[in-house]
Amino acid sequence: MPQRTIVEAINNALAEEMESDPRVMLLGLDVGKLGGVFRTTSGLVERFGAERVVDTPLAEASIIGASLGLALAGMVPVAEIQFLGFTAQGFHQIGPQLGKFRQRSRGRYNCQVTIRAPFGGGIRSPEFHSDAIEAQFVQTPGIKIVMPSNPYDAKGLLLEAIRDPDPVLFCEPDRLYRSGRAEVPDGPYTVPFGKAAVVREGQHITLVAWSAAVELCLRAADKLAEEGVSATVLDLRTLVPLDIETLCSQVAKTGRCVIVHEAPLSAGFGAEVSATLMEQIFYDLDAPVARVGAFDVPFPAASLEDYYLPSLQRVVDAVRKTLQ
């Protein structure tokens, strides 16, 4: 089977979907000849033309708002926001518009729109490029929030997103874009929303993560294995919908849990995971659920990101403390 990086998996998903569904179009900054700043759309304008792969003006609110309108006209837009941090400029068009439009029209209209955006630290980016603000969108219901962590899921979840009649925010872990290849079949397949993946099974503790933090948890699990601690690693894959069942059953099995995310700790989605575990399986917990996140300050200069982001050390420390 073909081996692909996340960038290649996304490119492949887009190309195949555009091939099979003429309504699918891409729009965003530099998605055309440049192929996107990370080359996820490389070669697509050459193949599908400038009417279906559109370099837009530098204006995020209009990229998102126009996508909504394009969907109403019967197109299936896949918009790229150059970095998730710049969704802030179009924030009012996401939750308050995409997320509410169906309700507002009493069900007459739906918004089959996918917004793709890379994010995350670890690549020494300038300000805003690393901001992990996924939790904010959970508070504006109506939007699904998808956080792939590997090439196979990236393709399968992206196809699911594009086909979903509901609007989807698809956040791509830029640190992992080219960090490794995995099997990604040619041709269409989907990974369903709301199904967390047990990417490693263990007995002593469950590490819960999504996006690039899954990779960190896998490294932590390796490290812990050396100390005789065996860890389950659970990849939530989607925050909305949240797979409460798998989350609870996996944490109940080990009785202990550490949640890891790149976003600042306070009110990060880790809080929701912890609160959910509290509500659902309090009596199965052998120790308090711990969270490891970035600190509650803005993402600092790139020179400081290794101190700021959750590190292998901090994850391992949190596990040790939880096991005490």
Partner: protein, 349 residues
């Protein structure tokens, strides 16, 4: 930008040299819609005062803008993207009055825009509809449809970033769209004078590479003229137009507002003299096509029509608790499904 386009002057006479496109029968039709709008507003305000209607923003004073622009469209192919003060434009475009009324009454299913009616829902978030309207027009072009979008915005809303982004994108994509800016001189209590230092909002179009025109927004014949020209332009593939329709908000921002706190009564009095309905009636009277009797008859007929719609809306089923969850997701998350069950259980239990 040319001068402010004018055809039918406030005194009911035709401006020197004007060549109106609207013929008399059509003007009678326009008058009908303008009167229907005024009568509906009057009735709804009364109902609101009796506690039977929610917050409502009347179109009073702006009937020529609202009706003249809508009449330039073909409801079978064109689209209307409203803000919230263009109720009668959407009704003219095929949205049943009882349905939009039901929306104001907080009904759910009975307020659904019917399939085939090419109208987007009322938009409360000022200017957010404009990028959406651009996308819609762009998409219609991509889909090969022979359609034009008429998008409404207030002069207040034209200060929002969305206005700029939407118009610029429409210019670049040469989308078939008309931006119809109703300058009614007020954004709630904020005077047009402190909203922008520009002398005409129509100037803005040049910054996006398409024409901008200013029109007397209380002159239905002039509004219709410029709207038809803009729609034709869009339909021919020549791209967008910005129309600034200069009018006046003759009532108030909405039923919770009291303009006496901020409006100069003289300004208000001056504006009343430019009433968009009276000038049509004067003109048609001069032509022998209008008189008190016809006015009384039509008023009665329209009042009945409106009343039927209002009664239908009132009679339509009230929302039920499960409507809280209606129309959000096609595939709702499991947690939302559970929450719905909880709410219904809680209410049963």
């Amino acid at each position: 930008m040319q001068e402010r386009h004018s055809v039918l002057q406030a005194d009911g006479t035709i401006a020197a040299g004007a060549q109106p496109r609207m013929e008399e029968e059509f003007l009678l039709e326009a008058l009908r819609w303008m009167m229907k709008s005024r009568l509906y507003d009057t009735r709804v305000i009364a109902l609101q005062r009796q506690g039977q209607f929610g917050v409502f923003s009347p179109g009073m004073g702006q009937e020529a803008s609202i009706v003249g622009s809508a009449m330039a469209l073909d409801p079978t192919r064109d689209w209307i993207v409203p803000q919230y003060r263009e109720l009668m434009a959407t009704v003219h475009h095929g949205l049943p009055l009882e349905i939009i009324t039901a929306q104001y009454l907080g009904k759910i299913a009975p307020a659904r825009i019917p399939d085939g009616v090419r109208v987007l829902p009322t938009q409360v978030s000022i200017a957010a509809q404009l990028p959406q309207a651009t996308g819609l027009a762009w998409g219609l072009r991509l889909r090969g449809e022979d359609a034009v979008v008429m998008a409404y915005i207030g002069e207040g809303g034209s200060s929002e970033g969305d206005f700029h982004e939407a118009l610029n994108l429409a210019g670049v994509t040469k989308s078939p769209i008309v931006f119809f800016l109703q300058n009614n001189q007020w954004a709630i209590s904020t005077s047009r004078r402190v909203q922008s230092a520009t002398t005409s909002f129509a100037f803005r179009a040049a910054g996006y590479g398409f024409p901008g025109v200013q029109v007397d927004g209380n002159d239905v014949m002039a509004v219709y003229d410029v709207a038809v020209a803009a729609v034709e332009r869009a339909r021919k593939g020549e791209g967008p137009t910005l129309i600034e329709s200069v009018t006046y908000r003759m009532s108030f921002h909405n039923t919770t507002d009291n303009p006496s706190r901020y409006e100069d009564p003289k300004e208000h009095e001056e504006a009343r003299k430019r009433d968009p309905i009276e000038r049509v009636q004067k003109y048609l009277t001069g032509l022998g096509l209008w008189d008190k009797k016809r006015e009384t008859e039509l008023t009665e007929e329209l009042t009945r029509e409106n009343e039927v719609a209002l009664q239908m809306a009132f009679a339509a089923p009230a929302p039920t608790p499960e409507d809280v969850f209606a129309n959000v997701y096609e595939h709702p998350p499991e947690r939302v499904v559970q929450q719905k069950a909880e709410l219904l259980d809680g209410r049963r239990g």
